[in-house]
Symmetry: C2
Subunit: 239 residues, 2 copies
DNA sequence: CGGAATTTTGACCAGTTGGAAAAATGTTAG
DNA sequence: CTAACATTTTTCCAACTGGTCAAAATTCCG
């Protein structure tokens, strides 16, 4: 299993109730907060890791601080010393997640050829589903709830990125290198098919059964998806 | 908006604290429970509808009886008169959901030709995503949590159905009517791409923007998916 | 109508939840 | 070492949670 993954992004609000100078500083936007101590960084990471575990399964409302604290191996008040409230933990997770989430699509290169580009985009997304299923589920959970906590990021950052890449694809279509179709729905279908292996993992495993449900399923999925996106399901004379 | 959808399946445990004869009957498996009154049927439906609304957004743990009762327009104790506990409501929803869920795949006809069959399967699933997004999200929520409450149904009923249809597809492939590929992942990709429009609706709408995010998105999706599953993304000489 | 059965309400309860306060215990720079 | 700071624990709280119970209100049916 890969390391914690969701890294600490953001300037990070310092722990509450620091000494008076800092408390004052908090009200004074020009003073930069004292840098985090080693313990602060470590503990925050432990907490975020635990929170990822819990939020990704139960969603925001369904997760409890107690639960997260237990997974993190500390007491609830101790956890609340590092993150003054539940929302704060979730916010941090989502902010880090979004970055991770956009990265693979960002890498799609307008100067490359469509099929290698799309193929490796699919591979990267599939690898993320395999290596970071909890992140995928956290994201899915937020979506199911109507994305109340990240809707602006979706509407701005994500939309801009997709708009940009859609244009790239339209360019490829104009050059005759890619079938003329709807680039937005094309991107949706890549998201859907790849994230499915993280979000619906139980189902995938149950349906494939014990023999085919092992780690090999990701390779099978990769092969299948490559064929789907390349040629669809129309039989072709082999050669 | 379509009608309540998730219909009342299952023999339905009668309300608690009925008169003594019935209370006795409950312990005596041979006596059939008194049939439901009109009010019981109506109120149960109202409750299930409200529960669908709430569970589909917040998941099992995140949803509260109070919340459901409020949406249902009744007091919590009143609701608990019809469903003695939270799990009971959820169980009923899931049981009805599973039936609805399997239906479209069941309709896939081994004697038909693959492309019409697959095409109309995709259409039906897409229509379900459009008309019953809450059911889709309820299902997705359960999956994200590891399907604790329906895992056996997935492992038995769903698996059997998929196994059966996978064989049908293999038959088509043997006849050369369908590209030789993995039928299980093929089915997964249909589920993923269609349900995406219900489960990730916010994202889809946000990315498409106000102009393209209207109801027309389902038609666009249908067109795109048809092309994807038929020919993939390889450009073809038009004719 | 009138009595029996059903439905609804209001008061209540024990356990959980997110969080605050402060005391107790480290840790570290001078 | 010790004062200043950082961390942890203990105690506590009000709001919320799932659920009970008896009494009141309503509906049903002969």
């Amino acid at each position: 299993m890969p390391p914690t993954k969701v890294k600490s992004a953001e300037p990070t609000a310092a722990p509450k109730r620091q000494h008076k100078a800092d408390a004052k500083a908090a009200t004074h936007p020009h003073v930069k907060p004292r840098p985090l101590t080693r313990i602060q960084r470590e503990k925050q990471d432990v907490i975020l890791e635990a929170a990822l575990e819990v939020f990704s399964v139960h969603g925001f409302r369904g997760a409890t601080i107690d639960q997260i604290a237990e997974v993190a191996g500390m007491s609830k008040p101790n956890l609340l010393y590092y993150f003054p409230r539940k929302e704060e933990i979730h916010r941090r997770l989502m902010a880090a997640l979004l970055e991770t989430w956009l990265a693979p699509l960002q890498e799609m290169d307008a100067d490359g050829d469509p099929f290698p580009e799309i193929r490796s985009y699919i591979r990267r997304k599939l690898e993320m589903a395999r290596d970071f299923p909890r992140e995928s589920r956290l994201f899915a959970n937020e979506m199911l709830q109507g994305a109340p906590r990240i809707i602006e990021m979706i509407e701005v950052d994500l939309k801009n990125l997709v708009d940009e890449k859609a244009k790239v694809m339209l360019g490829w279509m104009d050059e005759g290198k890619l079938a003329r179709t709807d680039p937005y729905h094309l991107i949706f279908s890549i998201w859907a098919t790849t994230q499915h292996y993280a979000d619906f993992d139980v189902q995938v495993r149950a349906v494939l059964g014990p023999d085919r449900g092992g780690e090999g399923r990701f390779e099978d999925a990769a092969r299948y998806l490559e064929q789907l996106f390349l040629h669809g399901l129309t039989p072709r004379p082999k050669g």
